[in-house]
Symmetry: D2
Subunit: 350 residues, 4 copies
């Protein structure tokens, strides 16, 4: 951390900076510039100090951070890479993993038919929404616990591991026994009560980027999960909010590369929520594969026109099959071939 | 809602739009343009319909919303204005209300001295943080329930009603008996489990705008609270995230006027979090009063240099006193004079 | 400037950083941290160095700027304040200056009646658009040079100094003889050919903030003007582009305070373009006065309903008169009373 | 265009809307809703009408646009696709075209060696900056006309067609004779004087997206070029400004798909300016190819560490060669193979 003093700062003010730094166990090196004093605060843990702690001191002009403020998620903490296991699927390993399924679970039939289709064409994890955070209280909020139980049933019927979003710590007990991984949605990326609860559950977790979160804040949120001792964390880029309105959100495709350089955690991309329209989903899905993402999270529905939520961004079975062909070819070029289907369908799965 | 069909859409596709609209109880009027069909979906409740429900239909080119998608928070639902009562303070009435206090509660002495000072110079509600949502898990997270109890003590000692942020539904029981109003923070604006729980508690609530929420989404979040039957909701503008980095957030001062035109709910401004630096807080506070805000929420600390959180944006006692003088003069010009101090200090308050 | 080396950077890599810094005439002080080398690049002119010059060197992890990258516009260069004179109006002095007039000049009658009205109720500069940069080539582009000549005529008839936007260096000769000040619009803030030409003309200049420009970039653009030796530069905040759509742009009201702390140049606010709707203009205009702006730039039209451009954000004569009453009262409280009408109407007036 | 009247609007107010619509040659169809009047303004050219023209009328609550406001750039105007020819390179045709070269031209030797290298590994257009719009007036502004002449020399030596940025209409005469295509930079996307001049020159033009421009505004800017009768326009996505700071700009990869759906013009991607750092350029370049871009514009420099501008985002020869290998493989999968080298080296080559 670098503390720049105002021109004319007193010796007493400089001393206060030095004293504060030392109180945090840091060393200080002072540079007497041509007309300003600049202090470098040194230590192995300055990333976790707040810049405000120095900026608030009298005579300080500016404080600039040098170390990144996340810790457990960083390459410096663990060179990585971390591989996350959801059932038989390994995210962050040699294969590209596609997770697919309906935005909202609507019935056993809908979920099962989707699961069978997506598995047949190469997806290895089933996603399905049970609790839907919706912008309006008057919109469909999901089938709730009944949907969680359907996930479990279909998991056994198809052998596909399942992932679903959790929206409150109070749902944890009911969900952990039925799903293989929990998803924390974009609106809850900084819901720290939820992050801690999910981390402590020990379940693998998909942490979606907040719609206005910087990559740095996203990795700090991951630190909340990792701080519980649970390292099974997958980051999911799903678009950020910008002034552009031709898509629902602006997919920050560069974040895939930024995360790869900064963190040991795997990163996947959700092209469906970013696009907001089925016609743009393949564009974003292909871009994500070529950018080097570890996986994809795609909404698929047997009948998007009659879906209870997000039908507009859901792919039909045939569109998804076509896209999987494109993805498979690109993934091969990227030397991250699609993951083989994890398990055989059996009467009761395993 | 206006549905524009693609050039060359078939009669069957148009019929499907009409049929879907009627299934929601709406009327449809078709305009046969020079070369396109445009359908107007009419009804008293089209604001609560999703545009996607039509956009997903074959042959549809675009769907544009005419009615606003919030309902209970709108002037159309209630011409308003709504006045919210926090203890003896009335927000949304003839007086400007200033709420002030420390970001984090650190001790009884700190809270009491602050309360006495802010009351003396004209604040009529005490704010104080007990549970602090922090970007990093390694930052100070607040004193928790002990701080909530200190709020209650100081309330009795000073007679000032108190408000504090709630971060999880599980804290509700512990907090409702000790505070006069609950605050929902910017990171939780779309934490719907929390919104519903707070609404049902019947407590007055300050709903901070999400840092990437449009005014429309903010009013939809208010709808979650209002849908519980609790109408004691105050909106609080606290800055949005933009590309500009010279302030922590960009205060959207226009939102005060936009909310006044759209909603019956009172709207206050938090200049402290938007500014991020004490030197800019007075600029934003004065602007808020002149823009017509119903109140202010300001961070004040007896010793910002040693505050455990957000010291940089906290005002000292003397800076706050000077600011209250400026605010009082502007409020008088705006014909929204500062609220008189609500109650006298008594040995046990009332 | 602070250069952080990667963990394990070689001595040769560190030497290259030192050598490059010295080649720019800077001194270097090296801090040997616990496990990283950090180099502070010191010198009186490091603000004008690009961080990239160091970031590109092998072994460098990050480069952070300490000094601001603008120079001539800074308080450090000139403690200030600079007062800009447009005819008899002094911007940045003890009085608040209101500039008003139509978005587009449409006729002599329209311009003269507006000039007389705004002068009567307290404006001391007349604005009027001759060349209009419009988003679509099919929109009205302004009356051009004929409008410039009308400004000159009305200036003589009313004694009000006039300001108008210039959109190309090729228009300079035709405009300088007819107007008292030139405006550089938001789309041209980084049109450096235009900035240099306007600076060299010696005319006072209003530099609008680019719709996606940081305050820092805005002050760097001011440096282009100031580098020509022309110090008659007024900064004008007019809203930035964000995700919020309830106003045309988001007025960054804090920028008034940020500029005042960073620069000696006066700063005014254009509430009309930020609001995009007449009903919100007074909200923003009042906020600007209370924030401490040196002036306002407001669109007024005798008949907004039939204006050829931006009628929606133009005030009627009566709305403007009412607003001037509010502004005058707030300005008095701020101890920046409205400027007295600068001059008497000339011989050709009525 | 849809005009929603306020509840309780008078018949006279409705009549005024109808009258105004008819004055523009539009038809009007009125829907008498349950409690509001909604008017649909119909006509083949409503896209070029301003919504403000109706919003400003008394009794109007909102106006929503149905038709897109650009015209000549739209698929509706020309089903497309348009193929643009720069020398022997065809952009928008069956091949992916890579344009590469230095940010700033620094010498004949630098330009020629770069041209030979990029041609050898598959680029078919040479880019090079002569006039550099820089944020600070104290930064290197390019070699100017001398660099333009060097482009011409190297074009003859290598046979590669050349493209360079134009920053002012006054440079047109000097540039048109030496370059094969002109580039309009992001800061000048709405410099309409420049757009018109470039359009009239008849030269092929690369129109970069403004850093805060919506796709719609970008296509409207293209309309300025197309309105001159020059249809040789290439759109270039280069990143937009958002709150994220880990890259210089946020590449809006979805815009490739959005433009393809909306317009007949080819669209290319500049990964260098979006990334701002050489290590992220390959990520974005690969994503662009997979998203379906018609080409790439990449900065390459023989010695980035000593480049006079943008060295940090420039690829070395070997990095570029490796990237071209990846791009070629992805392009083949996308069935848009790299364009064959357009021409043989001319008599003056070696």
């Amino acid at each position: 951390m670098i503390v720049e003093m105002r021109r004319g700062a007193t010796q007493e003010q400089v001393d206060a900076v030095v004293e504060r730094a030392r109180s945090y166990g840091c060393e200080v090196q002072l540079n007497i510039g041509t007309d300003k004093v600049v202090a470098a605060i040194l230590g192995s843990d300055t990333g976790s100090l707040s810049t405000d702690m120095f900026a608030v001191l009298p005579g300080v002009q500016s404080v600039t951070r040098v170390m990144v403020p996340y810790k457990l998620a960083s390459h410096e903490f663990k060179p990585g890479p971390t591989v996350v296991h959801i059932g038989g699927a390994a995210i962050g390993g040699p294969h590209l993993v596609v997770m697919a399924g309906p935005c909202s679970i609507e019935s056993h039939e809908q979920l099962l038919s989707t699961a069978r289709h997506v598995r047949r064409v190469g997806a290895t994890v089933l996603r399905g929404g049970a609790f839907k955070p919706r912008t309006s209280p008057f919109s469909f909020q999901g089938m709730g616990l009944e949907a969680v139980r359907l996930l479990d049933v279909v998991r056994q019927e198809t052998g596909l591991p399942v992932v679903s979003e959790i929206t409150s710590p109070s749902l944890l007990d009911a969900m952990v026994e039925h799903v293989d991984a929990l998803q924390i949605g974009t609106r809850n990326m900084q819901n720290y009560a939820l992050l801690s609860a999910v981390g402590q559950s020990g379940k693998p977790c998909i942490l979606k980027r907040g719609l206005a979160a910087t990559v740095t804040e996203w990795l700090q949120a991951a630190d909340y999960l990792l701080a519980t001792g649970n390292d099974q964390v997958i980051l999911c880029e799903r678009g950020i909010r910008t002034f552009e309105t031709s898509t629902r959100f602006t997919l920050d495709i560069a974040s895939v590369g930024v995360v790869k350089r900064a963190s040991h955690l795997p990163v996947i991309v959700d092209p469906s929520h970013a696009a907001g329209h089925y016609a743009l989903v393949p564009t974003l899905a292909r871009a994500a594969v070529a950018a080097g993402a570890d996986g994809l999270l795609i909404e698929v529905h047997p009948d998007p026109v009659n879906a209870l939520s997000d039908g507009l961004q859901s792919l039909t079975f045939s569109d998804f099959e076509r896209l999987m062909g494109e993805i498979g070819a690109l993934a091969a070029v990227m030397q991250r071939p699609l993951a083989p289907v994890a398990v055989e369908e059996g009467p009761a799965g395993d």
